[in-house]
């Protein structure tokens, strides 16, 4: 504890207005030789608006344009904005977390051109606020090896009018009890996981109280400095690294898409056990018992990140590592175009885009194939149009393709004609698969009826997805 003796007030409170063409600009200057911190509270009915404490270097000035703060709807530390209709209130500031109090002065200028008014205020209030009173918030931390985790704090300040307001704590020192488990950065207030285990983070901070002595120099504030501490438990878990994305093509492997991935941990131990704690039916795990595991897709995710993997190393359980198993799921039909064809009468292009279960188009080329599911059903009695074999191919660059359906040679019955409506000739059932070029292999994404007319073709009765 330290009594620094009498000092001048390091706080102020000014009226402000921004109605009509009035502007109010408040300046806070650090006139001392060491950094100092201060807080601001704009008080009004329905308020207050609290600005996160700021640090001023020696000689530095901070400006607050009240109109700008209101009009730009700059949120305060709690996310609150000044009401757009607010045009006056009280601006309060006070030095905080600055042992010795610093030499901070404030001034407010209220200007109106139309009213030819320039007012300057430099009104000290009683004494600066006291505090903070508080500690870590949250009061416990968990992180993985090699990961960062920010600490938080919660402190309360008390001004001379009895107002209580929040202020984060400036840690004077921040350490941990076991640096083999976790270390703390006293500059950024971050924790860093060094090794699996448990420890405590310990912080000290300046707590400053002010007392007003009316009899000294016609009234002066006396400062009392304390250095309290707080601590919070820290648990450091094994960390899993690897890809969060897996693909499932109903057992097919597809170039450019990971249908199996390897997860690993850098934590060294005697025993390892990997487990899918959620979504276990969507992956299979192989080679358990070491510092890595191979996951192979076995089904698709129902929602993003619904497969959770954990590793237990010598009894210490890792954080859950979440994975999404994507799968081709449906076809989005694009435009349909029928052009004339000198050999076949017409050529209908039905464009399709291949999407996953979240209706996002797959990002690169993928094998696709069709399969006939029925025999031919004649619509035109006596027709001798032919049916080709189902095809497969791998799309290039993008997950999209065109189903090209041609008419027939001109010597066939009925005679194909150029693009148009035409007469129904025949139809059959068709399925679409993604993940293989072999007809009927991969993941089925659509079922439809392929209907050919004399002048164009269509996919009818489309069902997609079609698991």
């Amino acid at each position: 504890m330290r009594d620094t003796g009498p000092t001048r007030n390091r706080t102020g409170s000014y009226p402000w207005r921004v109605d009509h063409d009035y502007t109010t600009i408040v300046s806070i200057t650090n006139a001392g030789s060491a950094p100092a911190r201060f807080l601001v509270e704009i008080r009004y009915e329905g308020g207050p608006y609290s600005i996160r404490p700021k640090e001023l270097k020696a000689g530095e000035t901070a400006y607050f344009d009240l109109r700008k703060l209101r009009d730009e709807q700059t949120p305060d530390r709690t996310g609150r904005n000044l009401p757009r209709t607010l045009d006056r209130g009280q601006f309060y500031w006070g030095v905080v977390a600055t042992p010795g109090g610093g030499q901070v002065i404030g001034r407010a200028e209220v200007v109106s051109r139309s009213a030819r008014v320039v007012s300057s205020y430099s009104c000290p209030t009683c004494c600066p606020p006291t505090g903070p009173y508080g500690g870590f918030a949250p009061q416990a931390y968990g992180l993985s090896v090699s990961d960062f985790a920010p600490t938080g704090s919660n402190g309360e300040m008390l001004d001379c009018y009895g107002n209580v307001y929040w202020q984060n704590i400036y840690w004077y020192t921040l350490t941990t009890n076991d640096s083999a488990v976790a270390t703390a950065d006293s500059g950024t207030y971050d924790l860093y996981g060094e090794g699996v285990g448990s420890t405590y983070v310990v912080g000290h901070f300046w707590q400053i109280e002010w007392e007003f002595y009316e009899s000294e120099n016609g009234g002066a504030c006396r400062e009392w400095d304390y250095l309290p501490s707080d601590s919070a438990p820290v648990d450091v878990h094994p960390k899993i690294t690897g890809s969060h994305t897996l693909w499932w093509f109903n057992g097919e492997t597809v170039s450019g898409y990971a249908t199996n991935i390897t997860l690993s941990t850098s934590t060294i131990g005697n025993s390892y056990h990997w487990e899918a704690v959620t979504g276990g039916s969507k992956v299979s795990l192989t080679s358990d018992g070491s510092d890595s595991i191979t996951l192979t897709s076995a089904g698709k995710s129902d929602s993003a990140n619904d497969v959770g993997i954990q590793v237990t190393i010598d009894g210490q359980v890792s954080d859950q590592f979440n994975i999404t198993v994507y799968a081709p799921n449906d076809l989005l039909q694009g435009t349909v175009t029928t052009t004339s064809d000198s050999t076949w009468g017409y050529a209908t292009h039905l464009n399709y885009y291949i999407r996953d279960q979240f209706t996002t188009q797959l990002s690169s080329g993928v094998p696709v194939n069709e399969q006939w599911t029925t025999g031919i059903f004649d619509d035109y009695t006596g027709n001798n149009w032919r049916r080709g074999s189902p095809h497969g191919f791998t799309t290039v660059s993008i997950a999209a393709f065109s189903d090209l359906i041609q008419g027939e040679e001109s010597n066939r019955t009925p005679t194909p004609i150029g693009p148009g409506t035409g007469t129904a000739v025949y139809h059959w059932g068709q399925d679409w698969y993604v993940g293989s070029t072999t007809p009927g292999s991969g993941r089925r994404v659509q079922s439809d009826t392929l209907q050919k007319y004399t002048a164009h073709a269509e996919h009818q009765n489309i069902v997609t997805p079609s698991p």
Binding site: T335, S342, G388, T395, L404, Q406, E409, A457
Partner: protein, 365 residues
């Protein structure tokens, strides 16, 4: 022995047919499938069955085609001959095919350099239907060719070995793609409507300003197919200059515009990414057909703009589940929400997700 006799018979007939086609210049020769011109080699090949295609193939990509070509030649095929059997890799399998060689008379060269007025190039013809585009004698078009180190020239893409083009001299201005686009765009001035339609189909795949200009001109075409396919192509590339026209036809369907053309316009709306379209897309969420509503919701989702939030919230009230899903997932993506349901999970417990986002919408007012 019987097999050999039959082969010999086919050889004689085929050779005579081919010779007749060359000598007589039969007008039907350009429609004649290549199989009828086959010259059977000493070892019999599986009989070729050229059937109409009913299979998937790559989307036409004019930019990629132009980029991949060493030579782009506007010209006419003077002759075609067989050049032996080859093995073709297709769909992860190897299939038997015939290598063909075409002699092309060049009228203009849009990319690369040609020594002389003709060039020969090879192209494959699989024994079974493949979706590969056939090349016939007298075929006129823009041929996309690749030349290897031995000056052996082949086609770049068997699905799109050539594209239709206007017979006049193309403007040789701008970069390679600009020249190709100009040659295609010239088709729009021709009286044959099928060529204008084909031009729109091709220009749709070229994301250049020149192609956009040509498509805008095509929206004034007398032919409804050209007009509406061009309009759809513009929307798909995010051009909102035609959005008012699209909104009119999508909000008030008319029999004057065929259903499939209107549908093409509807699905193309999903290509819009310009936030200035948000108000229109919001109104289209109330369009009579589901495709329009779904693609409008999809466009709003893919904008990833906070300005789209009110419209996405409106999508939650839609009568179509697909539209509501786009609303939910669009809001989840914008707010980086962790719980993103798949379509199936959403459909199983839709009320939960819709209510949640409606509540979120109410809380931010």
């Amino acid at each position: 022995m019987r097999y050999c006799s039959r082969t010999l018979f086919v050889l004689i007939i085929s050779t005579l047919s081919l010779a007749a086609a060359f000598v007589l210049g039969s007008p039907s020769s350009k429609n004649m499938p290549l199989v009828s011109k086959a010259i059977v080699a000493s070892k019999p090949m599986a009989s070729r069955q050229i059937l109409p295609n009913e299979g998937p193939q790559p989307l036409l990509d004019l930019s990629a085609l132009t980029r991949s070509a060493d030579l782009i030649v506007l010209g006419e095929v003077a002759s075609i001959r067989e050049d032996g059997r080859i093995a073709l890799a297709q769909g992860g399998k190897t299939i038997e095919g015939q290598s063909m060689v075409a002699e092309l008379i060049a009228l203009s060269v849009l990319k690369g350099k040609l020594d002389g007025a003709t060039i020969s190039f090879a192209f494959p013809v699989p024994v079974t239907g493949s979706g590969y585009r056939s090349i016939a004698q007298n075929q006129f078009g823009l041929f996309f060719l690749r030349t290897d180190g031995d000056k052996h020239t082949t086609i770049v893409n068997p699905y799109y070995p050539f594209l239709v083009a206007a017979p006049g001299s193309p403007r040789l201005e701008g970069d390679d793609l600009d020249r190709v686009v100009s040659a295609i765009a010239d088709l729009l001035t021709l009286p044959r409507v099928e060529l204008r339609r084909e031009a729109v189909y091709i220009l749709d795949t070229a994301p250049t300003d020149k192609a956009t200009e040509a498509l805008r001109r095509a929206t004034s075409d007398d032919d409804t197919v050209v007009k509406w396919q061009a309009l759809a192509a513009l929307l798909r590339r995010g051009d909102i200059s035609v959005l008012d026209t699209a909104e009119e036809v999508l909000s008030h369907p008319t029999p004057k515009v065929e259903k499939y053309l209107r549908r093409n316009v509807a699905v193309s709306v999903e290509g819009i990414r310009d936030p200035r379209a948000i108000a229109t897309l919001g109104r289209l969420l109330a369009a009579p057909d589901i495709e329009t509503r779904r693609s409008s919701a999809g466009a709003l989702r893919h904008m990833h703009s906070t300005a789209a939030i009110p419209a996405l919230l409106t999508a939650l009230e839609n009568s179509d589940s697909g539209v509501r899903y786009q609303g939910v997932i669009g809001l989840a993506e914008l707010t980086r929400e962790d719980e993103v349901p798949s379509v199936e999970l959403f459909q199983k417990n839709e009320q939960r997700y819709v209510s949640r986002w409606k509540q979120w919408g109410s809380s931010r007012k």
